[in-house]
């Protein structure tokens, strides 16, 4: 795409031309005047306050904004508002036309299709569109109809079950009673339909970005463009003078002890003297509109002195590397050690020693709800922050200290969370919100863009795991050594806990007499690594289970059999010398193998000239995806001649 013509500039004051839009939305004629750059999603959410529809990404990639325009399902974040002039728009908010819920929504409720619920309005719209177009749609067609909608919680299975159930009820092949709660004689053990599902499938439930208060201001944040730099000077004077700006905040405005963190409180709410990663908050503006706040952020002048950055944990640990935090020599944030028995001796005596190195990538949580919050000061002076925080207890502690207030003058309310997975445990914006509310004495709202969420929030720790395992010929593991180095990024976040958990669980549910584990989390100038579902055990157990397969290959053993030799039993002692009582590891393996069916043998037996395994392709597998469920079969040419052999 070519560059815009020079001289043509966005309004410096953040006041954009308005445009008048008349359309029929959910059966009602509306005429509104809105900023001309609004997309349909902005019109629906910000202007009409129909908050059932979500903006999960703003780039047409997640589907949470899906709605009907003149009967066609579109992504409203990609629709300039001008395109709905005179058109008919149908959003999730009134899909049921006051009848309660549609059959499809009831099916979602029945099947447990809604978990965090953030993707669900968009999913309901996509499913509605699919069944409207073809009331007899089969599973493949339904999948294609939902192929533009991402869900991070459910794995899609129950969503697909729900759409098929709705289809069958609508076409009469299943009775409507199939949508009702199943009968039961006990509540524990019953698949009770989720109590929050009706609010989620109709879009009625409010997440943080759906909350409004009278007289509300909007926050926007200036984030560091540099991975490592000294802040020489901040000049916010032009920003402060912009009409509509109520406050501009920097670290100088923080009254208390300015640091937070899940384990080590090493992160200021806005950068103090130095920025340590691209995306770190440096300043915040609260203004009458988001547009004015954005314009004001552009007017803040910051002079940086770029510093050398560290982007590799091995390099960051080397002597002479620039030290990123005063408290961390060699940039080591956390080093967890497990030592049991004598690994060196056991390896020397082992029949077989297998070595390999495994690597996992940094992972984004990708909750469909980007971070958001609303803060306000109550009449008694208590500052309240309403956000999808996963740990309001700890956040309140830290916020009280940062704001220099008694703890009962800080109130944290956890809004319904549109997905967390550990990514909403860090207090990366609530401090700025609270401070802005205190300074302006007005409610302040902040909604992250998806791009902000990506670069500013924690990622799953990437690990490099050097694995050495000693085994006897019969498959018994005699020694496990795991040396794990992880990029902790710019701030500690959950690094200490992740190193602990990765080490404790890393060698797996196996009775290993000699264990050596190092888990080293290192500071760098990358995006900080933090808590994410399975918290280090995903990475370390990945290495162990892949390594066992390699060992099975080397030993010529079936990988299930190899595990059976080594799995812990009742009364086992763990790698941290805890004695367990009941251990159901073998029960789980046997159950998984029984459910799947398992034709025992060495991995990739066909490569050794053996007959291929016989347990493939049974029930429990789907057909491979070949797109085109809705395509008419190609008109066949006249019946084929013989099959031509290769040569």
């Amino acid at each position: 795409m070519s560059e815009p013509v020079s001289g043509c500039q966005a309004p410096v004051d953040g006041r954009h031309p308005m445009t008048e839009i008349s359309a029929t939305v959910n059966g009602r004629k509306v005429t509104r005047s809105v900023p001309n750059h609004y997309r349909l999603i902005d019109f629906v959410r910000e202007e009409l306050k129909l908050t059932g529809n979500k903006e999960g990404c703003g780039a047409g990639e997640c589907g949470t904004c899906s709605m009907f325009v003149d009967g066609k399902l579109v992504k409203s974040c990609l629709t300039p508002v001008q395109k709905i002039q005179g058109a008919t728009v149908e959003t999730v908010d009134d899909l049921d036309r006051d009848q309660g819920m549609t059959v499809l929504q009831r099916a979602f409720h029945k099947c447990g299709a809604s978990q965090c619920g953030y993707c669900i309005p968009g999913m309901v719209m996509a499913a509605t569109s699919t069944l409207r177009r073809n009331p007899a749609a089969g599973l493949d067609e339904i999948k294609e109809g939902l192929g533009g909608n991402i869900c991070r919680c459910t794995g899609y299975q129950k969503i697909l079950d729900a759409v098929q159930l709705a289809r069958d009820v609508l076409n009469g092949s299943r009775p409507e009673s199939a949508l009702d709660e199943d009968a039961g004689t006990s509540f524990i053990g019953h698949s009770t339909r989720r109590l929050d599902a009706p609010g989620k499938v109709t879009g009625a439930i409010k997440y943080a970005a759906d909350l409004w208060m009278a007289n509300m201001l909007h926050l926007q944040v200036l984030r560091s463009p540099h991975p490592h730099a000294r802040i020489v000077r901040i000049d916010a004077s032009k920003a402060r003078r912009l009409p509509g700006v109520e406050c501009v905040l920097t670290c100088d405005d923080v009254p208390g002890v300015d640091n937070f963190g899940v384990f080590i409180e090493d992160q200021p709410i806005m950068a103090r003297g130095v920025v340590r990663y691209v995306g770190e908050a440096v300043a915040a503006v609260a203004a009458e509109t988001v547009d004015i706040a954005r314009a004001a952020v552009k007017l803040i002048e910051i002079h940086y002195e770029v510093l050398p950055g560290l982007f590799d944990p091995e390099e960051a640990m080397r002597p002479g590397a620039v030290q990123l935090h005063a408290h961390a020599a060699d940039n080591i944030c956390k080093h967890t050690r497990i030592r049991k028995g004598d690994v060196d001796a056991a390896l020397a005596a082992a029949d077989l020693v297998v070595e390999e190195t495994y690597r996992t990538a940094p992972i984004e949580h990708a909750y469909l709800e980007p971070e958001a919050g609303l803060a306000y000061v109550e009449a008694d002076g208590c500052v309240a922050v309403h956000s999808p925080s996963q740990n309001i207890t700890h956040h309140r502690h830290m916020l009280a200290k940062i704001l220099g207030r008694p703890i009962n003058k800080v109130r944290m309310i956890m809004s319904t969370v549109g997905g967390g997975f550990g990514g909403k445990e860090d207090m990366i914006y609530q401090g700025m919100l609270a401070l802005a509310a205190i300074k302006t004495r007005r409610p302040v709202r902040y909604v992250f863009t998806r791009e902000e969420s990506f670069i500013a929030s924690a990622k799953r720790h990437p690990f490099t795991i050097r694995y050495t395992m000693g085994l006897q010929r019969d498959g018994r593991i005699t020694a496990t050594r795991m040396v794990m180095v992880s990029d902790g990024g710019a701030y500690a976040m959950s690094t200490p806990g992740v190193m602990n958990k990765s080490a404790i669980l890393g060698p797996g549910p196996y009775a290993v007499p000699n264990v050596w584990v190092d888990a080293i989390g290192v500071y760098t100038n990358n995006t900080p690594s933090g808590a994410m579902r399975a918290f280090g055990a995903f990475q370390s157990e990945f290495a162990t289970e892949a390594h066992l397969d390699l060992c099975a290959q080397r030993l010529g053993m079936d990988p299930v059999a190899l595990r059976m030799v080594n799995l812990m039993r009742d009364g086992a002692t763990t790698h941290t010398r805890q004695q367990l009582d009941r251990v159901l590891a073998v029960d789980c393996l046997q159950a998984a193998v029984a459910a799947a069916g398992w034709d025992a043998g060495v991995p990739h037996r066909q490569g050794l000239g053996q007959a291929p395994r016989s347990d493939l392709g049974g029930t429990g597998t789907r057909a491979p995806c070949t797109l085109g469920a809705r395509l008419a079969p190609m008109a066949a040419a006249e019946p084929a001649a013989a099959t031509v052999p290769a040569k």
Binding site: C111, T154, R337, A361, H394, R582, A585
Partner: protein
């Protein structure tokens, strides 16, 4: 050509906070109309805790899940129940709710026992009905019972509960510790199809067995397993947050690839529901245990299918093709007895 293979992996996970004492507290009130008000530090993040707690409370208090009102998680309004993570919610807060409800229900039984002149232990309640064992006349609705106790006896039924899980910190040199009271074990089998024209891997089936303790809501546990498996499919095959010199080249969903409905396996869940003996309810958890075996099972299945071992996640089509190409080159080279690489050690053979 397409090649199929299978892999297996086991896993284990500790429940609740690691190597630190964990705690959760609850207040319970038996309220007008036979409803129940519960205040504890919980907000639904999608795992189903809201419904699960209401089921537990309903069972303990003799009402229905829809009769339960769960207060917002608000530091100014509810007792602390610590954080939403570490697969701790059902275990910590579920048990705390059970304990709080048992206290409240015990008081209810005492009060109704006095009202009816019967032994408290003979009073039962389920789904909003209250009755005395063996008596055809002594029964009423829970709503009426609450009304009677309040109006005639001035009794408001309240209870509180605390659940603590005893964990010890790690020894700094050896790591010796009791980091958790409860563990969840698991195993998964994955079946994949590898397309050697493109390096694409499709995961066609996953069978997952997890020892989740007493199951409060089977559909929700399945939902967690299915979601965890699919998240792991993403980790295994397509997700990679990439930075160069600290700058992110994957700042959105166009470049950071998540699984869609067309990428997911069929998932068969087996719930092994032996109750945990150490806690009142016997529940454990599933949110995180579900996600650890899948990726190695997939990687092992890729090896089973095409004989290449991917040691760096994600196993993108490019990495798989590159590994296949290396394998072809290696196998085409003349056999040299002295050149034994890591991948080619002669298998030891079974004992």
């Amino acid at each position: 050509m397409k090649h199929r293979g299978r892999g297996v992996a086991c896993g284990w996970y500790g429940i609740a906070r690691t190597a630190a004492m964990d705690r959760a507290a609850v207040w319970v009130e038996l309220d007008d109309g036979g409803t129940v008000k519960i205040a504890t530090g919980v907000t639904e993040i999608g795992e189903g805790i809201l419904t699960g707690l209401c089921q537990i409370a309903a069972q303990e208090m003799g009402v229905r899940p829809e009769d339960i009102v769960l207060g917002d998680n608000d530091t100014a309004r509810v007792p602390e129940a610590a954080h939403a993570g570490a697969t701790r919610m059902t275990y910590m807060i579920g048990n705390a709710v059970a304990i709080g409800c048992r206290e409240a229900f015990g008081k209810f039984r005492d009060a109704m026992g006095a009202y009816w002149g019967v032994a408290p232990g003979s009073i039962h309640a389920f789904a909003g009905d209250v009755w005395v064992e063996g008596s055809p006349t002594k029964r009423m609705s829970m709503g009426h019972a609450v009304h009677v106790l309040k109006k005639e006896r001035g009794i408001v039924i309240v209870g509180s509960g605390l659940f603590t899980s005893q964990h010890t910190p790690l020894h700094p040199e050896t790591g010796e510790a009791t980091p958790w009271q409860s563990y969840v074990f698991g195993a998964q089998v994955a079946e994949v199809e590898v397309d050697d024209d493109t390096g694409e891997v499709q995961v066609l089936g996953v069978w997952a067995a997890h020892d989740v303790g007493r199951v409060v809501n089977p559909q929700q546990v399945e939902g967690q397993i299915e979601g965890g498996v699919v998240m792991a499919v993403g980790h295994a095959l397509m997700e990679d947050y990439i930075q160069h010199a600290g700058q992110t080249t994957t700042p959105g969903f166009a470049k950071y690839i998540l699984p869609t409905a067309l990428d997911v396996p069929q998932v068969t869940s087996v719930l092994i529901d032996e109750p945990d003996p150490k806690t009142p309810l016997g529940v454990k958890g599933i949110g995180e245990p579900a996600i650890t075996p899948t990726a190695p099972a997939i990687i092992n299945a890729i090896y089973d299918a095409v004989g290449v071992r991917i040691t760096q996640l994600p196993a993108t089509p490019e990495r798989v093709m590159s590994a296949l190409q290396e394998k072809r080159v290696r196998e085409a080279a003349p056999i040299d007895a002295t050149r034994v690489t890591a991948q080619e050690e002669i298998p030891m053979g079974p004992p």
